[in-house]
């Protein structure tokens, strides 16, 4: 079953890996030019509205430094795009069986519902890990092109780890949704909506003090790049929060699915 799920999702993993990897590579490859023109860039940045700078976290990270550049530009892509991928994948993986009515096939086989979920979740986990491995690998290749600039590898590893946590957080919530819903359309729109809304909340919480309470509801805030780069650690509170979300979503998914009436 794992093999089958793996195959079914391999194509989309490949496409996402190529797109994300390509974007990371392109973005990194323009860094040397970018750094050279840093003076103008700084001027340009100053001309931007301060709210926008805050929204992208550029007030705390120096975009002219390779680690900072990674933290602002690459990190935005890996967290946001990766979360979209993770949420879509997990939202579809269970609901698709019911949507396409193929669950009748699977449930007539000698497997328990728990086993079905376990296999599907494992595929999600492996796919997310692979996507992140690809982005990390491409980043290293990118860094090779900017050899003369220093980069903190520890920060990069931590950022990648944080991204993986973030992806698992969204994936687990989407996975739970996937077991509840009967239509992939519903499951994936909910999951996508969640990613974008929380992303937006994170931006809002950085801009305005009044909205700073929003930071607790946005997983994107949990993995904010600036504190990770400066403190060289992921806030343990946020880490535990994510672990709690992941575990409770997965447990809820098993409970819901175990009891669900599957009517196709």
């Amino acid at each position: 079953m794992f093999k089958r799920e793996w195959k079914r999702n391999a194509k989309s993993l490949m496409i996402w890996s190529i797109v994300l990897g390509g974007l990371v590579f392109l973005t990194l490859s323009i860094f040397p030019q970018f750094a050279e023109q840093q003076k103008e860039v700084t001027k340009l940045l100053q001309s931007l509205p301060p709210a926008m700078i805050k929204a992208f976290g550029m007030d705390q990270l120096s975009i002219g430094d390779l680690t900072g550049y990674y933290g602002v530009r690459i990190y935005m892509m890996t967290t946001l795009l990766g979360s979209v991928y993770a949420a879509m994948l997990a939202a579809n993986i269970v609901a698709k069986e019911e949507n396409d009515k193929t669950i009748e096939f699977l449930l007539a086989k000698p497997v328990t519902r728990g086993e079905i979920l376990t296999n599907k979740w494992l595929v999600v986990v492996v796919n997310i890990l692979i996507l992140n491995a690809v982005s990390l690998l491409v980043s290293f290749i990118g860094f090779q092109m900017a050899k003369e600039y220093d980069v903190s590898f520890k920060a990069i590893y931590l950022l990648t780890l944080a991204t993986v946590f973030l992806h698992f957080t969204f994936a687990s919530i989407a996975f739970f949704l996937s077991t509840m819903m009967r239509k992939t359309r519903n499951a994936s729109s909910f999951a996508l909506g969640l990613v974008f809304v929380t992303y937006f909340m994170n931006m809002m919480s950085s801009i305005s003090e009044d909205l700073s309470f929003l930071k607790y509801v946005s997983p994107f805030k949990y993995v904010d790049a600036a504190p990770i780069i400066y403190d060289l650690q992921i806030d343990p509170l946020y880490t535990s929060l994510m672990i709690v979300i992941i575990i409770s979503s997965i447990v809820a998914a098993y409970v819901v699915y175990q009891k669900k009436d599957i009517v196709t």
Binding site: R8, F105, P110, V111, T112, D261
Partner: protein, 296 residues
């Protein structure tokens, strides 16, 4: 104890009726028909037995094992053919069958044999298959692991007559091997042809379990006659059960002597005539009217 034992099985949905207090038992090696009009609860019963949905009351066992607790164990020896076959469109037939086989111990030879019998091209993509061909994949898939119990939900829908014949042959061969078959249908003649006993379900309730001979011993026929102008006669034959006139067209249920009917028809000028199998409803209705059970 039967292969399938259903006791007071009930499934109530929030908004609509499911099944209520269904009780029956299927013996080893028999072909057991399950008939009733569409929406009577046939699929609900089958889905509950397979634990796709949970019963809200009562219980059932298959091979003496509980359908909820031991679902996985039971499925190892059950072959299921859904009424509508839906498979992964991105797969080829052979991929799907191999995937299906991977859950059991199945010989390659059996797969090839079954596909050949049903004249199924296993190298085609599933999305390119017609409804009937998908059904064939379903049949192969249900028989593949040589189950001890076959659960077939409206199995012949979409199959052409030739294939239906092959399918019935396959079913009878399985029965010879001792396989028990549970077969739902709303078409009487299928059930008549194959089954030893039938359970009749209507509006979620099991009405009766009968042997086939008992149910159809009247040889009820559905007769339609279109008269030529002015040729109407009252058709006072012994054995006319229910008669309706509509212009020049008369429909009736007839259970009397065929020769008498033909002789009478012969004496009249008629435009058209058809004599066919009665609908299931007609049979039921007549069956119960006769037994004074109009209330069911």
């Amino acid at each position: 104890m039967g292969i399938v034992d259903v006791k007071q099985l009930t499934k109530m949905y929030k908004n609509n009726r499911g099944i209520e207090h269904v009780t029956f038992s299927i013996e080893e090696g028999e072909i057991f028909g399950f008939i009733g009009p569409n929406g009577a609860g046939k699929s609900t019963t089958i889905r509950t037995l397979l634990n796709f949905i949970y019963p809200t009351g009562g219980s059932a066992t298959i091979f003496g094992k509980d359908i909820v607790k031991d679902a996985k164990e039971i499925r190892r020896h059950v072959g299921y053919l859904p009424s509508e076959v839906h498979y992964y469109d991105d797969m080829k037939v052979i991929d799907l069958l191999t995937y299906s086989a991977s859950f059991y111990k199945v010989s390659d030879r059996r797969l090839k044999q079954l596909a050949e019998r049903l004249d199924l091209d296993i190298y085609k993509k599933i999305e390119d298959l017609s409804f009937g061909n998908r059904k064939k994949v379903g049949i192969v898939q249900a028989l593949l692991h040589e189950p001890k119990l076959l659960i077939l939900d409206e199995p012949t829908g979409g199959l052409d007559p030739l294939m239906q014949h092959t399918f019935f042959e396959l079913i009878l061969e399985e029965r010879k091997k001792g396989v028990t078959i549970f077969f739902s249908s709303h078409i009487l003649y299928e059930v008549q042809k194959l089954c030893d006993r039938v359970a009749i379900i209507k509006e979620g309730k099991l009405i009766q379990v009968e042997t086939i001979e008992h149910l159809t011993k009247n040889h009820l026929k559905h007769v339609t006659v279109v008269f030529e102008e002015g040729q109407y006669t009252s058709f006072d034959l012994a054995g006319v059960v229910k008669k309706e006139m509509n212009g020049n067209e008369m429909t009736m249920l007839y259970k009397g002597d065929m020769n008498e009917l033909i002789a009478l028809l012969h004496s009249l000028r008629i435009k058209d005539v058809s004599i066919s199998e009665p609908s299931l409803e007609d049979v039921f209705m007549h069956y119960y009217e006769k037994r004074g059970m109009n209330d069911v």
